[in-house]
């Protein structure tokens, strides 16, 4: 603590003030104006005074005690005039909300053991500066927000909440955390405290998130405390997947892409392990801001856990590893309910589709049978294609409707129109991958309107012709026109020439590949941290347990008939799905997030319309002690008064 003095007096004022102590001393030691009193005899008084002079030192001290006290009062007053003080940590404010980023990038080790530990340390320091009457709350966030401690004036509770924040491999999204904080800081919705006054929002983060657009701070006064360094180097694995060899489909290949997020050339080595045993190795050199892809040939691998490890000297180890789980392939169970569609059946019978799917045919009449309905309800199929028919109830499976819409709310059809012109296709969707529909003509179609959340895959001048929409863990695909129809006396009448175009069998392969349970074109299964994983039931009446990379076992509850959902994908690594004690499935959770791998801390952030600059060091304020000094002087004055009166008390 560096003591500071603030001179507020002029030289002549100091001169006058400086004369006070010597004046006191002079007055004290000058002969006191004693009141003369005539007494019969001073004989006994002399004797009494002499007796009292036995303890000379103490007597001198007592005699001069008042002098010392008076000098002390004057000294304190002069010191108070100088307004001594020191710079100290400012109190965070009456109401403060601590937002602590615990996303994957906060595990970078460029400051201390990790950025998260540093953020917690800084937050704890702010908590320690809180004074009585001030309340605070703690919110930890990654891509979701968690209120660790609601508003409290207990610093112990706040400390406990902060110290209990653990790291996460999830990406960063500050919007939800801001909304939670805003909801609690808004006086109209606050239930705990009266926050008609602004609340300080302390954000401890590296700024690795997209600016939350459309968010209004309202009563929040943001303080951004960037944690980490700007000049950090990091090379990370941003993608890894396993696919069938293009020319030798019986073999698998692993693709690993690295990216350099630093400002310097990075070199290193990439090791590929299978079940912990190194199977391949590659060296790489990546320029600043560039990517580098490495391909590993895996041969005729049928199952296993692949672990890619990049050995680089950087501060962020989380993206230096990636996993892929290769599970034994399972054929998709596809049911085609059709009154007869040779083109579709032919496309579903190609060698490529047969390798990944088992096709079952059924006529629309079977939908009326109870037995068939039970099969559909039991989730025995991965994909059910309804060609010109509708079930009474939607099956527990992905579906495709040709010329019909699902019998559930949300879907709608417009009026039938002829010769629609295809205007646009969504090539980014896996179903439309590699498709070129430029040579596809349609005679007539009934444009469809997908429910909210649906996605138009093929759009035309009359409306959507192909759309997909999620439904409770499944997806429903709807084609707005029939492919062909058997017309009495005319034979097969085609409504489109698509079935004879090259894109049709490719579309059917994509359909089976995508909607047949999972993308089986590649054999590796990988999810991003925070993603929800849908798992198939191993069988009627069976339960599943997921074992995380750290060994924690989480039992799952069946969310839908035959499906289990798993959301605790915070840890990076390989998860095992257990049916009893038998591992029935594996999947991997990876970071694969360039935004998180780019660990260069942002010096400022944008929240809504507000640009918030980072505050590196804690706010300081000057704490003066002049009041304390004056109070001390008054106290000494009281003591002096007491001593004086005590001495002369009769």
């Amino acid at each position: 603590m560096n003591l500071e003095l603030a001179n507020t007096l002029a030289w002549w004022q100091w001169l006058i003030l400086g004369l006070v102590p010597p004046a006191i001393i002079a007055l004290y030691f000058l002969k006191l104006k004693r009141r003369p009193v005539e007494v019969p005899s001073t004989y006994l008084w002399h004797r009494s005074i002499e007796d009292l002079h036995v303890n000379t030192i103490w007597q001198r001290l007592r005699n001069n005690l008042l002098l010392y006290l008076q000098l002390a009062v004057v000294g304190l007053g002069m010191l108070a005039v100088l307004q001594p003080g020191w710079r100290t940590h400012a109190s965070p404010g009456k109401h403060v909300i601590f937002l602590i980023d615990r996303s994957a990038s906060m595990q970078a080790g460029d400051v201390g053991s990790s950025r998260l530990d540093e953020a917690k340390r800084q937050a704890l320091a702010e908590v320690d500066q809180m004074t009585s009457g001030e309340v605070g709350m703690v919110i930890a966030f990654s891509d979701t927000a968690e209120v660790r401690q609601s508003f409290t004036d207990s610093r112990a509770d706040l400390r406990r909440a902060i110290e209990g924040i653990g790291p996460s491999g999830r990406p960063t999204s500050v919007l939800e955390a801001l909304r939670v904080a805003s909801g609690l800081a808004n006086p109209s919705t606050s239930g705990d405290v009266d926050l008609s006054q602004p609340a300080a929002l302390y954000l401890f983060s590296d700024g690795g998130f997209d600016p939350p657009r459309g968010f209004a701070l309202g009563n929040l006064e943001p303080v951004y405390r960037p944690v980490g360094r700007v000049d950090v180097q990091n090379v990370g694995i941003v993608a890894m997947n396993v696919r069938r060899h293009e020319t030798r489909p019986e073999e698998l290949q692993a693709f690993v892409r690295l990216q350099n997020f630093g400002s310097q050339q990075a070199q290193g080595s990439l090791t590929l392990e299978l079940y912990g045993r190194t199977v391949d190795y590659s060296r790489f050199a990546v320029g600043p801001g560039e990517s580098h892809a490495v391909v590993f040939n895996l041969g005729s691998l049928t199952s296993g856990v692949l672990h890619a490890r990049a050995a680089t000297e950087d501060v962020f180890p989380l993206d230096d590893e990636a996993w892929v789980a290769i599970n034994r392939p399972r054929h998709a169970r596809v049911l085609l309910v059709t009154p007869g569609n040779p083109d579709l059946q032919r496309s579903l019978s190609t060698t490529a589709v047969q390798e990944i799917a088992e096709l079952t045919l059924a006529e629309p009449g079977a939908l009326e049978t109870e037995d068939f309905g039970q099969k559909l309800a039991a989730g025995q199929f991965d994909l059910v294609i309804f060609d010109r028919c509708q079930p009474k109830q939607m099956p527990l499976a992905n579906t495709m409707f040709i010329g019909r819409i699902p019998p559930i709310g949300g879907w709608a059809q417009k009026d039938r129109q002829t010769l629609p012109q295809i205007l646009d296709i969504d090539s980014s969707h896996p179903l439309m991958e590699w498709l070129d529909l430029g040579d596809v003509d349609v005679v007539e179609a009934t444009p469809i309107v997908p429910p909210p959340g649906g996605r138009v895959l093929v759009d035309s001048n009359i409306g959507p012709l192909l759309a997909i929409s999620p439904r409770e863990g499944f997806e429903d695909l709807v084609l707005a026109f029939v492919l062909s129809d058997q017309v009495p006396e005319k034979g097969r009448v085609y409504s489109t020439n698509w079935v004879v175009r090259r894109s049709f069998p490719l579309f059917v392969f994509n359909l089976v590949s995508y909607m047949g349970g999972r993308r089986l074109a590649g054999a590796g299964e990988s999810y991003l941290a925070g993603q929800t994983v849908i798992l198939d039931s191993p069988g009627p009446g069976k339960t599943l347990t997921v074992e995380t990379p750290s060994g924690r076992r989480i039992p799952l509850a069946e969310s839908a008939r035959g499906k289990f959902t798993f959301q605790s994908t915070d840890e990076l690594g390989v998860y095992s799905v257990l049916a009893g004690e038998e591992v029935v499935h594996r999947f991997a959770v990876n970071l694969f997030n360039p935004a998180e791998s780019d660990v260069r801390v942002k010096p400022g952030i944008e929240i809504g319309q507000t640009t918030v600059a980072g505050q590196i060091s804690p706010r300081t304020t000057r704490r003066g002690i002049w009041k304390l000094l004056l109070s001390g002087g008054l106290a000494i004055l009281l003591v002096e008064w007491y001593i004086y009166n005590r001495r002369v008390a009769m």
Partner: protein
């Protein structure tokens, strides 16, 4: 108010008439008084015989003894003598303190004790320690001398700057006779009181010391920073009155009084400590009578 009533009230006089001074010693006086003396003199009470020598009074020849023994013997009778009472008053300026002043109190005591002596036919003499050498104090005898004695006392002033030792020394030189000496003083002499009392002891007086202190001396009402000035020698003592000093002063006073009492007691001197705020009649009728100076 007349001088007499200022020193002695009529009620007190009436009470004092019934008292008499008591001496622990039987002394030889100059005039025949009411007191028995060991001296054989002329009175009605036969005491003893002695052989006749030419010149003796023939009226006292015991003719019965001559008839038997054919020798001349003279009858001897007990002498009735008067008591010499001396009131030795300290008239130093230090006695002029208090309400009433110690000096006035001393005069009252002297007047009271002197009146008792006058009523009993004692020879009363009132002197001050600073009595001028060439000027003798008057002797008072008989009730008729009361007013002269009171006038004399009233004329005394506490202005004599003489030490106790010197004053008693002079007194002893002036008064070689025996008797009762009542020293009325505060004994606050920086030269001490011991020497003065030794002079009186040497004279074989029946000594009574009445130390008179004022209430203000016993319990001084002083506060603050003071310059105490001795009224006699103008000695200065600068004090800051504190509770501790006050306690110490009282302890010192108590020790001083205690030493004086012990000194007197060891030497057969009757010691009395009186305060000026106690009525004289209470002292005489109560205190002094209990202690044996007066009886009646």
């Amino acid at each position: 108010m007349s001088t007499a009533s200022r020193l002695l009230s009529p009620e007190l006089l009436a009470q004092l008439e019934r008292l008499e001074l008591v001496s622990r010693k039987v002394f030889r006086g100059r005039v025949k008084g009411e007191r028995r003396s060991r001296r054989k003199g002329q009175s009605v009470e036969f005491a003893d015989f002695r052989s006749y020598v030419p010149g003796d009074d023939l009226r006292f020849i015991d003719w019965n003894t001559y008839a038997r023994l054919e020798r001349l013997f003279l009858k001897l009778f007990l002498e009735e003598e008067d008591l010499h009472f001396y009131a030795l008053v300290d008239a130093s300026p230090s006695m002029d303190f208090g309400q009433p002043s110690k000096f006035h109190f001393a005069r009252q005591l002297a007047a009271a004790l002197g009146f008792i002596g006058l009523v009993r036919g004692d020879r009363v003499k009132v002197e001050t320690l600073g009595q001028p050498p060439g000027r003798l104090a008057p002797v008072f005898r008989g009730r008729r001398s009361l007013w002269r004695m009171l006038d004399y006392l009233e004329g005394l002033r506490p202005e004599e700057l003489v030490s106790l030792v010197e004053g008693t020394k002079r007194f002893c030189i002036r008064n070689s006779g025996k008797g009762i000496v009542v020293l009325l003083s505060d004994l606050m002499d920086k030269a001490g009181y011991e020497g003065a009392l030794r002079y009186l002891l040497a004279q074989d007086f029946d000594i009574y010391v009445v130390q008179i202190l004022s209430a203000e001396e016993v319990d001084p009402d002083l506060q603050g920073d003071l310059r105490l000035i001795d009224c006699e020698d103008h000695d200065v003592a600068e004090i800051t009155m504190t509770a501790a000093l006050r306690r110490r002063y009282q302890q010192t006073l108590s020790a001083f009084v205690g030493r004086a009492r012990e000194f007197c007691t060891r030497r057969g001197i009757a010691y009395f400590l009186v305060r000026n705020d106690v009525p004289v009649e209470q002292i005489i009728r109560g205190y002094l009578r209990e202690r044996g100076l007066v009886r009646g």
